[in-house]
């Protein structure tokens, strides 16, 4: 066995099992989904009714889908505008030499450890109009009148986003902490010695050096927001009247509940194009310098 052959061979042998699994569980279903999306099919029996791009034009024309897409975009905006800055702020605080900061880190990370279904169930109870935590405390402490957080069209999306933010801010916090710890302390000390205020240190040294981490968390937050399903489904099934629908709940309802698998596959394809497109563009233009090999 010559040296030039054994290395690729070893690589091939090691990569073959995961490649087979990937091809079988990811690539093949994707190809199937593309095929299904061209048909009208109820999932039972053979594929019969081809409709070409008919599903896609129906999706784009459906105001419920457009609403679902807008909800995804709202969740992205709230995540980028509120959740990430809050995580960053807390990370900066927790990074200081406070007593018990590892306790804080653990507590902040705990929501992430819960499963989405359990989180959804717990928060459904918290949001209950009759006897739920928020309404009971609000009534007793602030004299607030009862609000049906999950039953009210105007509050439901915000209520769900609060739960999403609560669940994932710990994850971003841990990422930021790691990033912060990679910044050499000497830079901070040098700046402070030169007379910079703490605020200036954060603005001119910490944040720029945290750039790669911030870009990464934005990437993860956007992708996660585009795909959110479990939490929304458990809490509201996309209701009431589609007020909290996301693309994924829309897909589930049509693909599985209404037995319209062709249509559902088309929705899945659109979601894939959006996520993949964002991923490619973001990695090429924004994360380029972070990923340069």
């Amino acid at each position: 066995m010559t040296k030039s052959l054994s290395k690729p061979l070893t690589l091939g042998v090691l990569l073959l099992p995961p490649a087979i699994v990937y091809a079988g569980l990811v690539i093949w279903p994707m190809i199937q989904a593309i095929i299904f999306s061209l048909y009208r099919w109820n999932g039972l029996g053979p594929l019969q009714q081809i409709v070409g791009l008919g599903n896609f034009s129906k999706i784009v024309g459906d105001e419920v889908f457009r609403g679902a897409l807008s909800h995804n975009l709202i969740i992205i905006a709230l995540s980028l505008g509120l959740q990430l800055p809050i995580s960053l702020g807390l990370a900066l605080l927790v990074n200081q030499k406070l007593a018990g900061r590892s306790v804080f880190r653990t507590i902040f990370f705990m929501p992430f450890v819960l499963s989405e279904v359990i989180t959804g169930l717990i928060w459904s109870f918290i949001y209950l109009p009759d006897g739920g935590l928020i309404n009971t405390l609000g009534g007793q402490l602030f004299g607030m009148s009862k609000v049906a957080w999950l039953g009210n069209i105007s509050t439901v999306l915000l209520a769900i986003w609060v739960v999403l933010g609560w669940k994932y801010f710990g994850y971003h916090l841990v990422l930021y902490l790691t990033g912060l710890q990679n910044i050499p302390q000497e830079l901070h000390e040098a700046a402070l010695v030169d007379g910079a205020t703490n605020g200036q240190v954060i603005r001119h040294i910490t944040l720029p050096l945290l750039g790669p981490t911030v870009r990464l968390t934005i990437y993860l937050a956007v992708l996660g927001s585009l795909q959110v399903f479990d939490l929304v489904w458990v809490m509201t099934t996309g209701g009431p009247v589609n007020a909290s629908d996301t693309m994924a709940t829309y897909l589930y309802r049509f693909g599985f509940q209404r037995f319209q698998l062709g249509y559902g596959s088309a929705v899945a394809l659109i979601m894939f194009i959006l996520c993949f497109g964002f991923s490619l563009i973001y990695q090429r233009y924004v994360m380029r310098r972070d990923l340069a090999l």
Partner: protein, 465 residues
Amino acid sequence: MNRKFKISTASIAVAATILAACATPPAPGAAPAAPAAPAATTAPAAAAATEAPKATEAPAAASTGAVKITWWHINTQDNGKKAFQAVADEFMKAHPNVKIEITVIENEAFKAKLATNMQSGNPPDIFQSWGGGVLGQYAKAGLVQDLTDAFKVDNFADTIQPGPLGLYTINGKIYGVPWNAGMIGFWYRKDMFKKAGIAEPPATWNDLLVDVKKLKDAKITPIALGEKDKWPGHFYWVYAAVRLGGKAAFDAAYSRQGKFSDAPFVKAGEEIKKLIDLQPFQEGFLGAAYGDHIAAMANGKAAMELMGHWAYGADSGSAKDQALKDYQDNIGWFPFPTMDGMVGDPGDALGGGDGFAIGKNAPPEAIDFVKFFLSKEHQTQMAKAGIAVPPTVKGAEAGLDNPLLKEIQKRAGAAKYFQLYYDQYLPPAVGSLVNDETQKLFAGTTTPEKLAAAIEDAAATELKP
């Protein structure tokens, strides 16, 4: 050489382990994360076929036997669960080569799980079915067995009441059989009505609207409704359509000689809108699941509900101590009121039942078990125990002692026009849309005309003549 040899051996060992791990596919029919409605209480209960909130799965230990039958049912209440298991045990004792494996799932989770199995062409041997167009779709795809011939043996089909059995008959062939069947009606609290100054239950729709106002004045929540699940609300609209259009309008629309956007269906929406505008439902009803709805009735938080024959079992099953006593002492039932300008008979009913369908891969013993389950003795026993209420086997109603359920059974049997809930009668694409659109009526985001038009659009595409 030595090092290379060690590395290649190690790599092959790793590869082999990975291959071995990848070789076992995930178990087919593994339960997806079941989104159960929040459990209202944990009280074990007297049961009826229910949409009970607790999601439980009880896979029996698999053992080798000559015949294995998988049975999925939705009786999550202790009472029903135990009774079903007891019948299975009895059958297994009489047929030692048969092993029946029961899976108990909550209603909504069951629909999701069954859909996956159906779409992969792998139905369970015996499973819960409501008949109608949904069963019809399975039959068309060859996923359920035609039981007509099997039921001719010993004239089994004649032992079942014809009305309910008809719901499981598609194009003259029997694809399933019901073990309970009843109708939807208003369950109401007599004590709350009295408190609001209502002497007797309303006979007409306008009387109902007046009574709702009286209840509101007396600071009582008039109606409990779990509209997050959508199907409880669709009962209102469908019943109004049953009153105002009768069998004729529905049959015409269904056979595509008429439309779902015809006048009776629009008028149905208008009448229901009158009720919705009175705001008779509990706070946050749009976000309340059926489990919350049951809790509201069980805890005496609302005066009435429009619900099926299983409501008595479900509500009392969730009530405890004083609330349970109050419920049982004061609950009454009245049929959906008559409406001005109605077509058809005041006795026309919206209802349905729970039944079994047999999967295409099931062994003949599965059909034997179903017949065994539906023996007159078993049905009478279950009627007495409050599980199969009302029963479908002729003569088993003698076991019913609850007078309300007796009345329901009588009326259901006497109804000249018996309509199965639209969301089961119509194929899933349309039925699911009826649920979604009627929810919009309750939320105030659609009009009666748009509602009827949306249903018509879906029907036009899905219901080919």
